[in-house]
Symmetry: C2
Subunit: 139 residues, 2 copies
Amino acid sequence: MKKALQEAEMAFEKNEVPVGAVIVVDNQIIARAHNLTELLNDVTAHAEMQAITAAANFLGGKYLTGCTLYVTLEPCQMCAGALYWSQISKVVFAARDENRGFIKMGTQLHPKTVVQGGVLETEAEALLKRFFIEKRNLN
Amino acid sequence: MKKALQEAEMAFEKNEVPVGAVIVVDNQIIARAHNLTELLNDVTAHAEMQAITAAANFLGGKYLTGCTLYVTLEPCQMCAGALYWSQISKVVFAARDENRGFIKMGTQLHPKTVVQGGVLETEAEALLKRFFIEKRNLN
């Protein structure tokens, strides 16, 4: 999750909502990404979506069984829907998204996917809060 | 929707689940795409996702207000989640997906998005059925 937080900081520096993600298999990072929705003008460019694409590309297959996603914010409907198709084994997130997170929205993951929340939650939340405070002060 | 069906036929010819999508604004098609999940080894490569990215690229902004998506199969959780973020004005689909469609799954679209189903439903369903029958016969 520390590596995912580093990715989130890279998003912050680019004036993007600071969310970062890494995908790990056999203790090896095979994908790292951060939110680029503003830079790419693309609502689909969430950190998780890019990480899923990159991991599948690395593995040479579209299924991510055996992989773990570490992401600094609870995935949204779109990202959870992509994780469903990927059949990823584990999803670990840091901060909870009480409004638009997949848990509140009832988005279904694959039945084999294990979910864990709250890892480095304080750090991830602090970064998000700092981002939105700076944004507010600029406007 | 006829143009979306043409896209679905292109997917069929590439041995992909035949789903096609176009995005229209002011009676002009600004994006067309078909499912490429097998060819790209990427669960995120649904027709709708590619169309959303292409339309935003065309418009130079990530929001698709004023746009209509025509898609030959009811969107899944992932695609509906992306449509939510895009704030698209209208979603028109052909065939219903009773198992994995966003209606059954309860995925939330943007409150301003209007949904219409069943346009050229018979044609879209026939193409999907033909695809799965051919698949079964090959295995």
